[in-house]
């Protein structure tokens, strides 16, 4: 038994997601990522099932495992009760833990993601918050979102939100004591450790690429090479 396979086997999503794969392709047939990206969930599961350290290490360092959108459409249909989406989550988490994610362009994106989402959670108690939503980073959100964000208090107020207010309500201010509990949870359960590991590996990668860290953060967030999509 390969050591990567053993590590993966400790992840409960892996326990749920990998039973035995017969390569029927039911998952790939309806996978949104397989249609557009050079991605095939069946092949990922089949590779992992072979338990070969070399192949799994290659996967952990590849672009492949980062194409999945975690929609779980594959889980509904698999005749053997597998869940490629769950296997992907286990692979991603192992890749993050081991620092292998910096070996791929899509993997490197884990840093700006971790930074934004986890900081939102720990500082506001929301995964997304108007105070950190920069419309320039989301031009597709349209002129109407820009209007909302430029007139937050008025628009949210008019719509009955309790924006940044005390007590219950939409977009209420989440009390610091609750945010402290979230921080404690992160510290206790390895969330903080994970953030540190991802940052550390990313800093190393930035140095290797000769970029300053802010530049690296922006670059990994924005840059998309040619070659990821099926028609490229």
């Amino acid at each position: 038994m390969g050591r990567y396979f053993d590590e993966l086997s400790k992840d409960y999503r892996f326990k749920e997601g990998l039973k035995t794969c017969i390569n029927c392709g039911t998952c790939t047939a309806i996978c949104p990522a397989a249609e557009f990206y050079k991605y095939d969930p069946r092949k990922v599961v089949d590779t992992v099932q072979r338990k070969d350290d070399g192949e799994i290490e290659a996967l952990l360092k590849s672009e492949t495992i980062w194409y999945c959108g975690e929609c779980m459409s594959c889980v509904t249909r698999c005749p053997r009760g597998n869940g490629p989406g769950l296997v992907i989550m286990a692979l991603r988490n192992l890749s993050a833990r081991l620092g292998y994610f910096t070996a791929s362009e899509k993997g490197r994106q884990l840093w700006p993601l971790t930074k934004t989402l986890n900081n939102n959670i720990l500082h506001t108690g929301y995964c997304i918050h108007p105070s950190t939503f920069d419309c320039d980073e989301y031009p597709e959100s349209g002129p109407v979102t820009r209007w909302v964000m430029d007139n937050k208090e008025e628009v949210y107020g008019r719509l009955g939100a309790n924006y940044e207010g005390k007590g219950p309500g939409v977009l209420r201010h989440i009390p610091q004591q609750d945010l402290d509990e979230l921080q404690a949870i992160f510290d206790e359960t390895g969330g903080t450790e994970r953030m540190e590991a991802v940052e550390r590996a990313s800093r190393e990668k930035a140095a290797e690429l000769g970029m300053d860290f802010e530049e690296y953060t922006k670059y990994t967030y924005e840059h998309c090479s040619v070659g990821h999509f099926n028609d490229e």
């Binding site: 029927c24 790939t28 047939a29 249609e35 249909r77």
Partner: protein, 340 residues
Amino acid sequence: MVNRNPVIAVIGAGIAGLEAARQLADLGYSPVLIEKEPAVGGHVAQWNRLFPDMTPAAEVIDALKKQTAKIRTLLGTEIASINRLKDGFSLVLTDGTSLLCQAVLFATGFQLFNAAKKEEYGYGIYDRVITNRDLEAWFNTRKDKRIKQPEAVGFVHCVGSRDLKAGNTQCSKVCCITAIKQAIEIKEEFPDAEVYCFYMDLRLFGKKYEDFYIKAQRDYGIHFIRGRVSEVGEAIDGRVVVKAEDTLNGKPVKVTLDLLVLMAGVVCNPDAQHYARQVGVSVDDDGFLKSRDNIAAITESSRPGVFFAGACTGAKTIPETLAEARSAALNIHHYFNKRK
């Protein structure tokens, strides 16, 4: 007390029951055929042509009917209850009568998997989705408004078979050969149609089955796509849209078809499971009735006096079923001889 003319209750008058009854009668016994449908012949009577030689099913059934014409047959009759006695069994039938017998032969056959349970295939929801049974019936009757000059026809293998979510993890054995047979028949009917078989594996284990595959490819240009159908949708014109992966090319495919045939698999008849428990015979984990031994004693149960023939113990082909029917008759003969 010795019964000089033992009675055997043969549950089911499909080909297994008919053949076994014929043998038992020839051996001098009194079989009684109990059949829930209004006619004998079971599933095979509904079919059109049989692999490998394209024998008309009617020929097989007519021969069996002729040979069993004199055997006591209770049509349209089911079993209300069945009890084991000291030296035999007592059956109470739904026609109000009761039957005392010294042996019971389960020839209850299979039930076709209810394709509507595979909701993602849209049987009973989309108009152009039919099953293998519907298609076979059409070959006989030519009456099915869903089948109208199709230009593109698809066959979906493994519907309700090898499928944890459908509740049947076993292979139903006969669907691959049936799919290819029906695909060829469709091509003969509609020579310009494109015909696709969507399969996971092609299980063509039987005598001359591989010839069908060769013929399908060489003479009929049938397309074989190695990918299990994941989802069926309906386009605005009523045609069905099928999603699968062409696993040999590693690419998802979407095919629009005029007709989709679901190869529904075989599961155990739930009535059989019910009666089996009443006589103390277990149901195996594949849902079929449990034989005493899967190699050496497939037609015997673990209880004295209870025997099996045909699909009640698992998916079977016709020649296998007929062979088991004769074998079970012989088992019953030995059983009675030993008790004398």
